[in-house]
Structure formats: structure tokens, C-alpha cells
């Protein structure tokens, strides 16, 4: 078994090389060996998989080896650097023609390659009906989860964060968390995300509000982290009296409009999330004194911006998940007026 795993490792090197210009050194014999090796590994993989059905120890590592013969074939076929003679040998091996008897491994690989071509045709045809972003995102999420299940995750996510295109990675991660909320793989993903401040910040920043609301609804831990992040963003806004607007201190910071948009989508979510978000706003507003005057607290202004229904609803309801601060202020009645000398009114 160990030797098989070693062979798999060595084959992965071959696979990596098959894409590069180094194949120009391969002659027909090398190609033949590579293809035979791939066929052998596929058979061995199949038997091993069956034998290890119950055991998870070495099983996960085999997960990625299913279709390597197809991958090798496709790569070699597409690699311009492969010499002419080697390429002809490859064609003979991969496409023996109708005469090849059915159960032989040669015919099996041929059938698999034909099926791949057919599936590609199918995707092209279906795409004529319009783009399929949802399906694409879902597929990426599934692959991410599969990778997490198949391999030791330890350095994986850190590595991905370092190397992979970040936007794609975050989108796929969010999709993965929505796809399968419970389960070991997404659990790992969530833990990593919560432990990595920069990743979390980027996630909250880059994803659209509605997607984050959905995520927050599914995962309480993420909800708390998201709200904390929103709090951080809000605190960085400064009120500009002449224009009467909240401004970001730096262009890179989250703008007022964006923050409001976030809270709007949270307020549209179903009760547990909606209540939590509004309650948070209440609490922060209360901490700032809960004066119903614009420009004093970004939280108050947000509450006002969310509309009349927002604040009173969560206050009126006795069952709100009360995170009301010590001030326990009611926005229903006007707060105490501040004395004029504390306000920055224009003269």
C-alpha cells in the first residue's frame, strides 16, 4: 500500500511535467510508459478504493487520483512541445480505433476521453442558453470542499490564501459555507476564516451584501464576526458638518453608503439575523448616548436610515434578542437634547 502511494506521488511529478516544455525530451517510449503507468494506477486506484471503503486513513489521499489518466492524456495532447514521433505514439495509444476489444484498458481510456469531449460539447450547448454563474460557483465550492476532505488541511488554506486569486477563493469559500453548512470540511473552512483576520476582513469587504447576509444567517459565529467588522468600519467614519454626510477618513475605507447597504440587507433577513443586527445597532447607538440628532452617532443615523419600522420593531417586540446597553434608551420618545455649546453648529 505504501509503495502504491509512493507511486502515486511520483506519478504526480510526471503529471506536473506533462504540461511543461520538458516533454520535448520525451520520446515515444517515454510516452508509452507514462500512459501505461496512468492506466495501471487507475486500475490500482479503483481496487484500492474499494478495499478501503471503510477506512478513512489513507482513503482521503486517494480521492484526487480518480481521473489522472484522462488528465495526463489531455495535457500531452495539448502540449505543443511534445515531439512529432512521441505525439503519433500517443495518438495510437489513446485512440486505437473501433477494433480495440471492449474491456481492454485502451478502449476504456478511449471511451473516457470521448466522454470528456462529449461533456465539453454539452456544456458549450447549455451555455448558449445564458451564463451559468451559479452552477460555476457551486462547482468551485464543491472542488474546494473536496480538496479539504481529501487532503490534510493544515497548510492548505493558508497556502491558498497566499497563492490563489483571492477574489475567486473568497467567493468559492462563501459558496462552500452555504452549500453545506454542517459537515467537517466547511467547519474547518469556517474555523480558518474566523482565525484569519485579514481573510475575514477581505471576505466581508468583497462579497456582496446579500451573500454575506445569507452567510451570517447560516453561521452564528460568522454573524458575530461580521457585526464586529461592521462596527469597526462604522467607527472609522467621520461626520462632515458642512456637507451633512458621514465621510470615510481614507478612500480605502468603507463608505457610509456601503455600510448602510449592508445593514439594509441585514434588516431584510429573517428574524434571528435581523433582530441581532438591529439589536447591535441599538446597543452601539445607546453607547453613544442615543441622541436622536443627526451627525452625533453613526449608529443612530443608520437606525434612522433603515426607516421608521426598523428601530421601533425590535424595541417593541418583547422577545428581541436584547443586547441593549446599560442605557436602555427608547428611541420612541425623543432623547434629551444636548446643550448647544457641545454641538458644532454653523454660526
Amino acid at each position: 500500500m505504501e509503495s502504491l502511494l509512493q507511486q502515486l506521488e511520483r506519478f504526480s511529478e510526471v503529471l506536473a511535467v506533462s504540461r511543461t516544455a520538458a516533454v520535448s525530451a520525451w520520446g515515444p517510449a517515454a510516452v508509452r510508459r507514462a500512459v501505461q503507468w496512468a492506466r495501471y494506477l487507475r486500475r490500482a486506484h479503483g481496487r484500492l478504493r474499494a478495499a478501503l471503503e471503510g477506512r478513512r486513513r489513507a482513503g482521503p489521499r486517494l480521492g484526487a487520483w480518480g481521473g489522472r489518466d484522462v488528465v495526463l492524456s489531455a495535457r500531452l495532447l495539448g502540449n505543443r512541445a511534445l515531439g512529432a514521433a512521441a505525439h503519433r505514439c500517443l495518438l495510437r495509444l489513446l485512440f486505437p480505433g473501433p477494433a480495440a476489444p471492449a474491456p481492454a484498458p485502451a478502449a476504456a481510456l478511449q471511451a473516457r476521453l470521448a466522454r470528456l469531449a462529449r461533456r465539453r460539447g454539452a456544456v458549450r450547448l447549455l451555455l448558449r442558453g445564458g451564463p451559468a454563474e451559479d452552477a460555476a460557483l457551486r462547482t468551485q465550492a464543491e472542488l474546494l470542499l473536496r480538496r479539504l476532505r481529501d487532503g490534510p488541511a493544515g497548510g492548505l488554506l493558508d497556502g491558498l490564501w497566499a497563492r490563489a486569486p483571492r477574489a475567486a477563493f473568497l467567493r468559492a469559500a462563501a459558496a462552500a459555507l452555504l452549500l453545506d453548512p454542517a459537515g467537517p470540511a466547511p467547519g474547518e473552512l469556517l474555523r480558518w476564516l474566523l482565525g484569519r483576520a485579514d481573510a475575514l476582513a477581505a471576505l466581508c469587504r468583497d462579497l456582496p451584501a446579500a451573500r454575506l447576509a445569507a452567510l451570517a444567517a447560516r453561521h452564528p459565529a460568522l454573524r458575530r464576526a461580521y457585526l464586529r467588522q461592521l462596527a469597526r468600519w462604522g467607527c472609522r467614519l467621520r461626520y462632515d458638518l458642512p456637507s451633512g454626510r458621514w465621510e470615510a477618513a481614507e478612500p480605502a475605507h468603507v463608505s457610509w453608503a456601503e455600510l448602510r447597504g449592508r445593514f439594509l440587507s441585514l434588516a431584510r433577513a429573517p428574524p434571528p439575523l435581523k433582530d441581532a443586527a438591529l439589536a447591535a445597532l441599538e446597543a452601539w447607538s445607546a453607547r453613544d448616548g442615543a441622541f436622536r440628532v443627526r451627525g452625533l452617532s453613526v449608529w443612530t443615523d443608520l437606525l434612522l436610515a433603515l426607516g421608521p419600522g426598523a428601530g421601533t420593531d425590535s424595541l417593541g417586540a418583547a422577545s428581541s434578542s436584547g443586547v441593549l446597553g446599560a442605557g436602555g434608551c427608547r428611541l420612541a420618545r425623543p432623547g434629551p437634547a444636548r446643550s448647544p455649546e457641545h454641538a458644532h453648529f454653523p454660526k
Binding site: 481521473g67 470521448a114 450547448l125 447549455l126 457551486r138
Partner: protein, 552 residues
Amino acid sequence: MAQDSVDFSSHYQFWMQKLSVWEHASTLETQQDTCLHLPRFQEFLRQMYEVLKELNSSTIIERFPTIGQLLAKTCWNPFILAFDESQKILIWCLCCLINKEPQNSEESKLNSWTRGLLSQILSAFRFDTKEVDLFIQSLGYTPEDYCPGLLKNMVLSLVSELRENHLNGFNTQRRMVPEKIRFLSRICIPLVTLPDIEPLVEALLTYHGHETQEVLWPEFFDAVNEAFLLKKISLPTSAVVCLWLRHLPSLEKATLHLFEKLISSERNFLRRIEYFLKDSLLPEAACHPAIFRIVDEMFRYVLLETDGAPEVLAAIQVFTQCFVEALEKKNKQLKFTLKTYFPYASPSLVMVLLQHPKEIPQELWLQTLKHISEMLREIVEDQTHRSYGGPFECWFLFIHFGGWADIAAEQLVMSETESSEALLWLLAFSYSPRDGSLQRAQTMVELKAALIHLKKLFRSPTLSAKDLQAVAAESPDRDPRPALCQQLSRRLLLNFLLWAPGGHAIAWEVITLEETSGSGGGEISPAQSSCFSLLLLLALFLDHNNSQVKMS
């Protein structure tokens, strides 16, 4: 040989033209045209491969200078690539084009170009952005891993759109417009036999929209039906029923396909008939009255065309049995009155006939048979009862439930008392429905005589096969209807062999004698074939009564 090559080059020109037309416009018409021609084009590709593989690359170019264009246009047509095995054959053809020893730069260029096409079939056409590609790569996966997953998810999302559901967490709630549905049905035509597409095919078939007109492409139904009959797609019964309800030609083709199977099999024994019938899903689908009526109509047609062939009678009988079984299973769900299935029959008659003999205690069989006989007689002999169809309609209904005729014969044979008039009438009617009352009366008299004779014979201690055969063979001298009486006699004879004590031993003797004594000259006598078909019908009856008697 010369003729072949002339044919082939004219085909070549034809397809070259077609491909050019399909390439330049991607309208509805061209798509439809492409889908119509896919199977024939695949045949052409196969023929071309057979031609190309014998030649070397330079000869190919000499003989078919435009072959590069033809193959390239084929590569770029996703409908062709998506169909059945076309992509595989295309790859074989391209492999033939590769020059083993390129002598000059022209030939090298051709090789290079061919290599490009080959890799294009398998790996070009990026499905997503470069960013996504890099992400997949960083995960350690390849486009070959991505593609099947993407296809599966695209199908999933289309299926749930069709079913107006949400995908978990992705909230894609969109109602699909009819144009899109029609488009999907067109796209699916080449893809029908690809297993990944099955859920979409099923969803399209069972889609119940709000449009008044059929929204799916008729060629789509044809393609699905073909694939289903050739067992290249596996669909749940509900989807197949939807297919047949929405597209009549498919139902007709399916029934014809079944008939062909029933006819082409050698000795169609009961088990085989039942298996073919159940396998075709037609009895189950026939729980829908519309489907039942059409299939029944086709059975009726075949029966008339074959002049009442026993094989067809047997098929109708087994079909009805399977149908009744399926109906009973569905009893809670489908509620159609009997009249919708048998509009030309008296409902009370149908109700009685539908009963399975097993469900009625044996003592009551005689009574039930008399009742059936009376009802039929009333309809047949009463001229004013035209609403229930003529004698043929009655008979056609009756033979659906042919088990009752078998029981009538058995009762006649086993009864100690005088043969009941009702049963004699029933048996005579079942063999010859169009007789006038006079002729039928005569038949009944002859039957009675034969019965008495056979009963006497079977009571005698010294019974031999030759005696019995004499009985059966006696009839030919008796005009004017030798065939009918002969048939009836044989029927009674076989019943005697089954039920009378000591009959089994004699049975083998008789059958062997029957086989060896032909009407001379080596032709298979009608006696032999009718003997076997009677055996078949009896076996039918016995099977369903779990009899201990073995008929082989």
C-alpha cells in the same frame, strides 16, 4: 467499388455543403436541420473513417483536398460533438490525417494544424475566467475535473428552475420562459443518451407549464423515445408516460416496437411475452385511458390483419392481465371509470370479466360463466343493442379476458352432468364470433356430441393415444367447417388431457403423435401449430391459477 466511391464523393459534397450552411448561421432553422441530420452524419463519418484508414496522409489530401475544412467545420459544431459517438469517430478521422513522415513544410504544417484540432476537441474553449482557472489549478485540480462537475451543476440548476424551486442558499427563483424551455428541448436532442443529461430530460418531460400549446420540440420527443426503446436512456415510468401522452407518434412507435419483438421471437412462451410487455412499460402506461385506447386499437388492427392469430390473442390476453395488475396497484391514485377504457362495452359485462377467477370461489365459477354467457348472448343476438357494438366488439372485449374461455372448457370437461347450453354457446362464440344463430346452434350440437364421445372414451379403462387421435382427426371429413370443429375438438381434448385422471400420461403420447403425423409432404400442418398455440393458451390459464400441472 467504383460505384461506391462515386456515391461516397457525392455524399461528401452533400455534407460539405450542409456543414457550411450550419456554420454560418446559428438560427433556429439551422439548429433544427442539424439535429435532424445528426444520425446520418455520424454514419457518414463512420464511412469516411473506413475509407481514410486505408490510405496514407498524402493520398488523403490528394483525393479529398477539402477534407481539412470538412473536419474543422465538424469540430466547431457543438451539436455534432455532443451527439452519440460522433466525437470519437471524428478523432479517429483526424488521426488518419497525421503524416508519419512529413517530407516538406506543407506536410508539417498540416500535422501541426491537425494536432491543434485534436487538442481543441478535448481541451479548448475555456468555460470560465482566467481567474477561476487559476483558482482551480491552485486547488490541485484540472479542467478535466471541473467540466463534469460544472455539467452536473448546470443540469441541477436547470432542473430546479424547471421545478420552480430554490437551490439551497443560492436563491435562484426564476420562472423559465417558454422560449428557454423550447431551446433546452432542442439542445437536448443530441445529448439524449448522455447520462449526465437524464435529469434534465426527465424534468422537461414532466414539465407542466401554463401554455396552451406544446412547448417542447417534437424532434425532442422522437429522440427521447428512440433512446428509450433502444435502452440507451433510463427514465422513470412517470416520465415515459408523460412522453407518450404528449406525443402520439412516440406511443405508436413504442407499440410497434413491442409488436416487432413479440413477432420476431421464435416460440413465444408465456414468460417471454409477459417479460417483453412489462419491460415495454406499456401495460403500466395504459392505466391512462388515452394510452390504453390507442394501444388497444393497435392490437385490434393487428388481430384483424392476422385473421385472429393465436399469438396475437395470447399477447392481448397477457397485456390485459398486466394492465389489470398495474391498475390495481394504482387504485388509489387514478380514478377513471371503466367506460373510459372500454367505451363500447356494457359496464356490467366489463365488471364481471375483470374479476380474476382466483378471486371467485370455484363453486361460483359455473354461475359466473353462465352470467357472462347470458350477457354476451343478449348483446350479440339482440339487434337493437347496437350501442354496445356488434358481435366483433363483444368478442374483442371477451378475448381480452380469455381466461374465462379456458375455464368454460374446463367446466364442460369436468362436469358430471349434462353440458350446459350457456357454456357451449360461450365456447362456440369464442372460436367463431361472426356465426349466425343457426350456425352457432349447429356448432354447439357438434361440440356436445364430441364431449359425450370424449367423456365415454376417458371412462373406458383401455384408453390409448391412437383412439384419441382418431377423435381429433375425425373432423376433417365433416364439412362444411372442418377447421372450427377441429379446433374445438382439440381444445376439449387438451382439457381432457389436463383434467381427466390418467390424462397426463396419454398427453405426451398424443402430442408426439400429433407432431409426427402431419398432413403429409413435410409442411407444418395447421394441426401442429394450432396444437402448440392451444398449449400456450392453456399454459397461460394454468400459470395464473398456480396449477401443479406442468406443461412444457
